[in-house]
């Protein structure tokens, strides 16, 4: 399997804030990678390192085997990028942006661009100052994918897109890219979207990788179990291997990474029993991880 992106022990600091702390990530060809995390988790910072827009303070970043800071042209030529800010020149018309971007990319696929414009219903004669946030996102998406990049990097692509466009067109674009044997890395706070579209997920929390791996694997290793105790408990029960415990009285919901048998044994010590257990959703995993981290920080 060809490795397209290789990030090793990447750290980045903004003043006294550690934005990324020892983050490692590898992206292979033909897969969709999702970056999820709360606001300020470090998703955009990580993406900017991929594009060479930020210089690593520690660690290394390689894209196509190249250093994107030292060799930005060779890297950026093969990358399609949609920024979170949708920072496009106000005075430009969509037509002009398409031609301007085309000049940079010999692999530009005009027919594909036309089709996407039609799908989005965008008027190519309009200036960006006249476009809504959603239309800007759509325009940005068109110029990011129309040159058929080997690596598509999307920073919060859903932001500004309505649910229909998101489910129909964004999904289709990502699928097309992957079917062509290319790679997508995208950040999102919409976890159902990540779950639906990604092969691989990296959960970031406060600049650190909280969970990483294939989506199915990550989900399989996290379970939500409903536990019932014979008598109401006055305080949160202590259960080995639990990421988060919520509830009150006799019924408690536990998100855990430990095996079901271990949990059963741990609960049995307090004469409790598991009445239901299922794999956790990404949303549940993220919330549990963030809460645990906050608890640990408060305890420290």
């Amino acid at each position: 399997m060809t490795i397209l992106v290789e990030i090793e022990a990447l750290s980045r600091r903004y003043g006294s804030t550690l934005a990324l702390d020892n983050v490692s990530l590898q992206a292979e060809v033909g897969l969709v990678y999702g970056l999820v995390g709360a606001n300020g988790a470090g998703k955009t910072t990580l993406i900017k390192h991929l594009l060479g827009l930020l210089r690593p303070h520690r660690g290394t970043v390689r894209v196509f085997g190249l250093d994107p800071v030292r060799d930005p042209v060779a890297v950026l030529r093969r990358v399609g990028y949609l920024s979170e800010q949708r920072d496009l020149p106000e005075w430009m018309r969509l037509e002009e942006l398409l031609r301007y971007t085309q000049a940079y990319h010999p692999s530009w696929d005009q027919a594909y661009a036309e089709r996407l414009l039609e799908d989005f219903g965008l008027d190519r004669g309009k200036k960006f100052s006249d476009l809504s946030q959603g239309m800007r996102a759509q325009a940005g998406l068109v110029v990011a994918v129309a040159h058929r990049p080997e690596l598509l990097v999307l920073d919060e692509p859903s932001s500004g897109l309505d649910v229909v466009v998101r489910q129909d067109i964004l999904d289709a674009i990502v699928r097309t890219v992957v079917e062509d044997g290319r790679t997508v890395i995208f950040s999102s706070h919409l976890l159902d979207e990540v779950e639906r579209m990604c092969d691989h997920v990296t959960v970031l929390h406060e600049g650190r990788v909280a969970v990483q791996g294939p989506v199915d694997e990550v989900r399989a290793t996290h379970r939500v179990s409903q536990v019932r105790f014979p008598k109401p408990l006055e305080s949160t029960p202590h259960v080995e291997g639990a990421l988060s415990i919520a509830g009150d009285g006799r019924s408690w919901s536990i998100i855990h990474t430990s095996a079901l048998e271990s949990l059963r044994e741990a609960v049995a010590q307090s004469r409790g029993e598991i009445i239901e257990s299922r794999t956790a959703t990404l949303e549940e995993i993220l919330i549990a991880r963030v809460r645990r981290s906050n608890r640990q920080r408060q305890a420290a």
Binding site: L51, G52, L53, L54, R55, V69, R70, D71, P72, V73, V75, L76, R77, V79, Y81, S83, E84, Q85, R86, D87, L88, P89, E90, W91, E96, R99, Y100, Q102, A103, Y104, H105, W108, F128, S129
Partner: protein
């Protein structure tokens, strides 16, 4: 008690505190150096100028157009309080920026500086500026109002106390001593100022209420909320927007270079040319006016207008296109698949070409208009005279044009570098620049006062002679090592620089500069490496913010 008015006051202070602390402190320091040597009139001028600068800048708060505290529109506060509090703050802060340094120096050195009348004038000027900029989001209207405010301020200065003594002021300049009589306001003058402030307050309140109610729409030149560079929505933005509307052509797709040149020309280059062309049309009118009125003022205006294309060119064209986020360079620009050296090279080239072309247009207009000045006796028509000069000095003119063009490009590239460094290390760059300026002032004052020998200046100049080439080598080496410049680019730059150096030396020789003092000759020769330094430092500095 934390009331809405106090909260607004605190916000006003938070947005302006740096300059409010820094500028008066520096003015006091300079004033103290002068006042203790008995140059009290210059002290007054410096304090008054610094305070006037504060009065002009304080009301602008940040870069937000129109009323600067518009984020408070959604808060439960009455418009009259929302306007009155910052307006009172602006008046008091601007007045204090003169009053406090003047009072301190008056006590410390005994310099007879005027106090309250001058402070009142400064405060009133700040309120006038606020009146010109807070009342509308429409860029064109705002620019017109700002000009109007300056005109009123000028009239105010002319008719109020200090300038009724115009003749005495002129005499006072010759005696170098300030006096409280320089600035005197009668009770009637104070009343007039108060009335003016009240009218401005009522007007701003009315207009801000309109903004709050969404009745004041921005002009087409005003930006969408995306970009702070254009958020200023000033006259330059209006010109750019209009130029793009009128002079639009298709972006070429043949190469990144051609697309980049199109991008630079379309929004940043063409407006500079248009400004040059418009001013070229105005110059004959000014010369005709000077001839008719026998006044030098129109000629001074015509001469000063040559600054306009330069300021318009460097104002926002080079890496000043901040995004709405905290990024120093918008992602749209930073993520283009083009090398930093190529990108800045094209930007500098387009800007230089446009400014140069604008200047040529203006100079040609001035030259052709010279016969309008009847006092100036010329032989033959300007066109014939120009041909004659070209025939006579053709090579030297060409050499001068090449050297001038290169120097202009160098200045633009160095300014871009300073701007890039300032945006990545704002405070440190500012402190560094201030230290350098202060050091130069101290050395000059020390030499002028005879505290140290004049040879110290020569030593500094010789130091510069050594530092410039050495710094150039280091910078180019760093750019090369960092992969910002390739060996081929450096080689090409060195070859071009050799040509420039030969032409410069030839020009210096023909102008007789080689007979000047040895240190000046050495300095002139060393300065020829500046273009080469710019080749290294511009992409290096931009790489610092592109890959922050």
């Amino acid at each position: 008690m934390w009331t809405p008015a106090v909260a607004t006051l605190w916000e006003s202070w938070r947005l302006t505190r740096r300059r409010l602390l820094l500028v008066p402190a520096l003015a006091t320091l300079c004033g103290w150096l002068l006042a203790r040597n008995g140059v009290s009139l210059l002290t007054f001028i410096i304090l008054f100028a610094a305070a006037t600068g504060m009065a002009l800048s304080l009301p602008l708060f940040g870069t937000r157009p129109a009323f600067p505290l518009s984020k408070s529109f959604a808060r439960p506060i009455r418009t009259s309080v929302l306007v009155g509090t910052p307006l009172a703050y602006v008046f008091a802060a601007a007045a204090a920026s003169y009053l406090l340094p003047a009072a301190v120096l008056r006590v410390a050195t005994g310099a007879p500086l005027p106090l309250f009348p001058a402070a009142t004038l400064v405060g009133a000027l700040a309120v006038l500026v606020a009146g010109g900029s807070w009342v509308t989001r429409n860029a064109t209207d705002r620019t017109g109002l700002a000009i109007g405010a300056y005109v009123v301020a000028g009239l105010m200065l002319k008719f109020l106390g200090p300038f009724r003594y115009a003749a005495k002021v002129t005499r006072a300049f010759s005696v170098k001593v300030a006096s409280p009589q320089l600035c005197v306001l009668s009770a009637l003058d104070y009343l007039a100022v108060l009335l003016l402030l009240a009218v401005i307050y009522l007007w701003i309140s009315f207009m801000v209420a309109r903004q709050r109610g969404g009745e004041d729409e921005p002009s087409c030149a005003d930006p969408s909320p995306g970009r702070s560079a254009s958020e200023r929505g000033d006259i330059l933005e209006s010109i750019r927007s209009s130029c793009v509307q009128v002079l639009r052509w298709r972006c070429p797709v043949s190469s990144p270079t051609s697309a980049e040149i199109w991008f630079e020309m379309q929004y940043y280059g063409i407006p500079v040319l248009v400004i040059g062309a418009l001013l070229a049309l105005c110059i004959p009118v000014l010369i005709q006016w000077a001839n008719g009125s026998h006044s030098a003022i129109p000629l001074v205006i015509a001469a000063c207008s040559f600054c306009a294309p330069f300021l318009a060119g460097v104002g926002a064209s080079i890496w000043n296109r901040r995004s709405s986020s905290r990024e120093k360079v918008p992602a749209f620009e930073a993520a283009r698949p083009i090398g930093t050296a190529e990108l800045i090279g094209l930007q500098v080239l387009v800007t230089t070409l446009c400014i140069f072309a604008a200047w040529v247009l203006m100079a040609a207009s001035a030259w052709l208009s010279l016969p309008l000045l009847t006092d100036l006796h010329q032989n033959g028509s300007p066109a014939a005279r120009a041909l004659e000069l070209i025939h006579q000095y053709g090579i030297r003119l060409l050499t001068g044009a090449i050297v001038g063009f290169t120097l202009l490009a160098t200045i633009i590239a160095l300014l871009a570098a300073v701007r890039a460094f300032a945006s990545s290390n704002g405070v440190r760059t500012l402190i560094g620049a201030l230290c350098v300026v202060l050091y130069i002032v101290v050395v000059i004052v020390a030499v002028a006062q005879g505290w140290i020998d004049a040879i110290v200046i020569d030593v500094h100049l010789w130091g510069l002679v050594i530092v410039m080439p050495a710094a150039t080598v280091i910078i180019l080496g760093k750019a090369l090592a960092g992969g910002i410049l390739t060996a081929r680019q450096v080689a090409a730059a060195v070859l071009a620089w050799l040509l420039f150096a030969v032409l410069s030396v030839d020009l210096l020789r023909t102008e007789g500069m080689m007979n000047a003092a040895a240190v000046l000759v050495a300095l002139s020769l060393a300065a020829t490496v500046l273009p080469l330094m710019a080749v290294g430092i511009a992409p290096w500095s931009l790489s610092v913010i592109r890959h922050a």
